[in-house]
Assembly symmetry: C2
Homo-oligomer: 692 residues x 2
């Protein structure tokens, strides 16, 4: 699935750089909306998107704070995304009486639509290039750490000015290896109600085995309705539905929020990723997943509580393993090496460029070298407990908000505070048994990797055993109560200082240690890496112009491509699948989970037109975070819904292979066919098709 | 497809050796019926085949001289094989009015059953170990060439004695690197009539792209009836049909004739195969295929004439390319190296073994070294014209039959003459335009590779141009007339000497050249390789005992395995497919060829039970030549029909990988379901199911 906020787990990996691109594969690129690939579209497809076309698509697209993308599909705020993006909210809304994740949900009327506890969606309404202002802030400052801080202050100021002036969520993002800075302004909506979701098994047919593969037979869709002032949002910015849907050979676009790529990484960064980051990350994920699976095997209640977590861990493991295998593939490494060699050769050939940028690659390699030893220490200082992380965020929050915006830790800038508070005050349930499990699992990993005397570990355990510590903290804390959290946030530093809540006290002990780690990394790695990466970004601009695209940053991008199969398994994968294939794959595994049909699917035989396209593939360049993105045709009408990439696309973190890299989408026809014939949701289908 | 007599194209590759096996993968092995893997079956499956079980299966199995396998499936001589094995006969029987290959065939009564022009089937009725006698023949002969000749004479004598005594086709075959020699006695049948074949498109749905892959949706079956003395053969040796068919997890056996494997090859032989043989072979096949495809594009008549040839060339190319990629795979090479190292280490550790066998690997490497230069010369002395090859065989035939049996070229031993004459006198049509095409294509390749002055080429062209030569030879020869061939064969040396038929004259000029090549290879390569390979075979016996199996030799073998899926495409391939999948794959390619449904398949929607298993996979170890082999359960009842291997099985020439190597079979239920519901062949289905 292309949804998980995996990159959030990996502050460092994101910070560790970018690189450059020479000639690109045919349909490569996650383009910003200010710089769409007009020339390629004109020359290859004879299609020129107008500014109105681009604006309409951008304003119809949304980002979800659950880590995915979506789009408006009706004038009354109906919002289409993936079931696996909505699964957090489905689970949070479930009760002992109603398991909406398992059984699905359909609100036949507005009254029945179900509010999401902590879902925020963002629409990118403004984009402004602020590069000059950010770069100006650090001009003449020789010390790299001071220069970085000066830029961070300026960025915070820009964000705050924008937020104050417009009320919009305002983020300054860096693109092209920090060669450009943009102010992105978002309209945020927090009253988002669930309208429809199929059963999990229909959405995720084939489970973890079929995840990240194709051919596929999943109905991975969900529909929300966005409300404003207690009423359905009325908007002109929605995508018309093309029920015929995507057709083979057709040009299609994807508008969504790819989370993170490492396409611009230098060779030294890629090898660091391969040899240091990924092995640690895979080991960590394998172990926490195994622990939760053991927990799940204890009973139905336990299984339900960790189901989503296991689901995402498995997704991450499969994705990272695919990326790791890509970096172990000699051809991928050779391609990346050739790209780097080409750029470096062109830089070297020009004396001015060579003087300005020529040393950047070696600088990066030199900075990374000591990281090989340091990374593991920082990485395993990690406690996977919601309550502990809430405590740490509260402790940091009350301290940071008192500082000038520019001097705060990045997560606590003024412009992002309302979204952060929305998350911290989520009423979604937190289970003590799961908390204990995850705390003990991750602290035991930390103990094994860092030694029992590690300062981080000691700050939490104070010399006690890990099991004992987790019991005491989880049982002693009152942070599961949202009111308690709110009182601490509102009470500020004094309230937090006075708190004897054991989790808050543990967080207070841990806070200086993680701050020191952050500052060390900032002052010894980021502040030196940033200018070197910027040099490479500028070298790339100098050599190739702006005919390239920046690495993904979970901000809105436009991809283009063709609906087409690809070579697979010694033959060809088809451009689309049909409902016949769903029934084939289920029967061919004797209907055994995860290839079991739902009772409704079984009952629908005889009603469904089995030749209806179900899922399809297109060569659009996407990655995790694109889940839920609309696929649109030349008219800008919706023809599909991205939910995954094929197994070959997992190399896409580093390199796009136009021959085999494919995005996987639910077909527009399949959504209408099932809404009408499986779910009896004719009114909803009418609203989507504009037949009201 | 697992059917083509590809190995026949490659006399040399077959002669170039064998090697050894240490520990085997779970279900590895193509076992001779005298040495079935009883222990493995008992320990892993708790199953002990009785001698009666083995005899019944062996006597129910057949080999077809069209290059495949089959089995008796009714007491009245009904014989099941693949459509792609029967396609030669379907094509030879077709007329301008009836295209049986395209449209299929069904004889509703015995009267309508259609005689095959040149099909011979063999049933292995006797097996006798003659190792002692063959080895005795060369005892005390120091000269290797003389020793080889002595053995060949003895082999010819054994074959002739057997043939004279029993009237049975009698072949002495060598197994385990010439460490064992066996007399195999076959009952031959030449009155074999076609009863049923589906349309080619139903049998070969997915065409060349899907060939050698799985999941698959092919009805690759055909039914013959064997006649004796003008009446259907009545036999007790037939397989009962299990209409429920193969079930997931079930132990199943395959009884058939795998053509050729190189599992025992030494590393030096494997690298010779990879670096010398396969590149030449692939280039040759690519070029002759391209020439025939160009010819086919000229019109329907032309296309029809080369259709089967292209079909098999594409099959060969895909197979050889897969084998070539396997040898380029470092893991495969590492595995083979580890096997060889293990055997050599064990030999070295025992002083007696080391003295007897230790030098064999280096000997083989030394013999092969000059072959790197010689192979290409011999390989490209090749003319792909039926008439030319008939002429050459006639010229050699009349000379050879006058010699003592033991001194003849191997193809002309007494015991094989009747089968050879049956082929030479086939009434199947030969098309002059195709003859000219193939002669010019292959002679031009020879000219390019060997130079216009090459003796072989000169013997054919006598200095004239290649186009002119082909025109003159094909237009001038009368050999398309079976009576002319018969007159020459019967007239013997005098008739051939007197013949002024231009093709015969060309063959007479070429004959001494190919004889010299053969003799050079025999005296400088085979005669030295044979004892070295025999030493390795004996070393393997000494080290591992007879718990291994010999390389494939297109003789009857027993494989065992489980009906099970395998890891593929990032997920799992299912153990079987269903008819739902056929309709899915057709629809998902918009019914475009080669994924188009036949009119009958389209019409059958609503009649067929789409959940019926169609094809399935099992871990039985098979290879080309196994096409048409029955798959039987513990009861010895037929549950499926082998027709292919998956893409991963192409490495099977060298190494069996139990995790991924799968045989692909038509499911017993699919054959009954389609006979009854698509083809209206209820009487035939009744005969098969024993419901008469």
């Amino acid at each position: 699935m292309q949804g998980r906020k995996l990159w959030a787990l990996l502050g460092l990996a994101g910070a560790l750089g970018m690189g450059s691109l020479p000639a690109m594969d045919a349909e490569e690129g996650m383009w910003t909306f200010d710089n769409p690939p007009i020339k390629a579209l004109e020359s290859k497809y004879g299609f020129t998107p107008t500014q109105a076309w681009l604006d309409h698509l951008r304003l119809s697209s949304v980002r979800l704070n659950d880590g995915g993308s979506g789009s408006f599909v009706s004038p009354d705020g109906l919002l289409l995304t993936n079931h696996h993006v909505a699964r957090f909210q489905l689970q949070k809304n479930s009760t002992p009486e109603h398991d909406y994740l398992r059984d699905g949900f359909y609100a036949a009327s507005e009254d029945e639509e179900m509010k999401s506890p902590d879902l925020e969606i963002n629409v990118l309404v403004g984009m402004k290039n602020v590069t000059e202002r950010v770069e100006h802030a650090s001009e003449g400052i020789a010390d790299q750490t001071q220069a970085l801080k000066a830029r961070q202050s300026e960025i915070a100021a820009i964000e705050k000015e924008s937020k104050d002036a417009t009320g919009l969520r305002s983020d300054v993002i860096s693109l092209y290896n920090d060669s450009e800075y943009w102010l992105y302004q978002y309209k945020a909506y927090t009253d988002v109600r669930l309208v429809f979701a199929p059963e999990e098994q229909a959405a995720f047919f084939g489970g973890d085995p079929d995840n990240f593969t194709y051919p596929r037979y999943d109905l991975d869709m969900a529909l929300y309705r966005v409300y404003e002032n207690g009423k359905p949002l009325h908007t002109e910015n929605y995508l018309k539905w093309n029920t015929k849907g995507a057709t083979p050979g057709e040009l299609v676009f994807v508008s969504g929020n790819p989370g993170s790529t490492s396409r611009q990484d230098t060779m030294s960064e890629l090898l660091f990723e391969r040899d240091v980051i990924e092995p640690d990350l895979l080991e960590y994920l394998d172990r926490v997943t195994e622990a939760e699976q053991n927990f799940a095997s204890q009973g139905a209640k336990q299984a339900e509580r960790v189901e989503s977590s296991i689901f995402y861990y498995q997704n991450d493991i499969k994705a990272i393993r695919g990326e790791h295998e890509a970096l172990l593939d000699k051809e991928v490494i050779a391609k990346k090496k050739a790209e780097e060699d080409d750029l470096r050769a062109k830089v070297t050939a020009n004396p001015v460029w060579e003087k300005e940028y020529g040393g950047a690659w070696d600088t990066i390699a030199r900075i990374i070298e000591p990281e090989k030893a340091d990374f593991e220490k920082r990485f395993f200082r990690r406690t996977d407990s919601q309550l502990f992380n809430i405590a740490l965020e509260i402790v940091q929050y009350v301290a940071e908000v008192k500082k000038p915006d520019g001097e705060r830790l990045p997560e606590y800038h003024e412009a992002g505070l309302s979204s952060l508070r929305f998350q911290l005050l989520s009423p979604a349930p937190i289970y003590p048994d799961v908390e204990k499990l995850n705390m003990t699992t991750t602290l035991k990993i930390a103990e094994e990797k860092l030694g029992a005397q590690d300062a981080y570990l000691q700050a939490i355990t104070q010399g006690k055993g890990i099991d004992e510590t987790a019991d005491a903290l989880v049982e002693g804390t009152k942070l599961a109560d949202v009111a308690v959290r709110k009182a601490l946030l509102d009470g500020g530093e004094a309230a937090v200082a006075a708190s004897t809540d054991p989790m808050i006290e543990a967080a207070k002990r841990v806070d200086p240690i993680v701050r020191a780690d952050y500052l060390y990394h900032r002052d010894h790695v980021s502040s030196a890496l940033t200018p070197a990466e910027e040099e490479i970004g500028k070298a790339r601009f100098a050599v190739y112009g702006k005919n390239t695209y920046p690495d993904a940053t979970f901000t809105l991008r436009l991809s283009y491509g063709t609906v087409e199969g690809y070579p697979y398994n010694g033959t060809q994968a088809p451009p689309f699948t049909t409902f016949y294939g769903l029934y084939d794959r289920a029967a061919s595994f004797s209907n055994k989970h995860p290839w079991d049909l739902t009772p409704k699917e079984t009952a629908a035989l005889g009603k469904l037109d089995l030749a209806t396209p179900m899922d399809f593939v297109c060569s659009d360049d996407i990655i995790g975070g694109n889940s839920g993105s609309p696929v649109v045709d030349r008219n800008g009408d919706l023809v599909g819904l991205i939910f995954d990439g094929n197994i070959e696309s997992l190399a896409g973190d580093f390199v796009y292979d136009g021959e085999k890299n494919r995005a996987v989408a639910v077909h527009a026809a399949a959504m209408i066919e099932t809404l009408r014939k499986i779910y009896g949701a004719n009114a909803l289908a009418d609203e989507i098709e504009g037949k009201q």
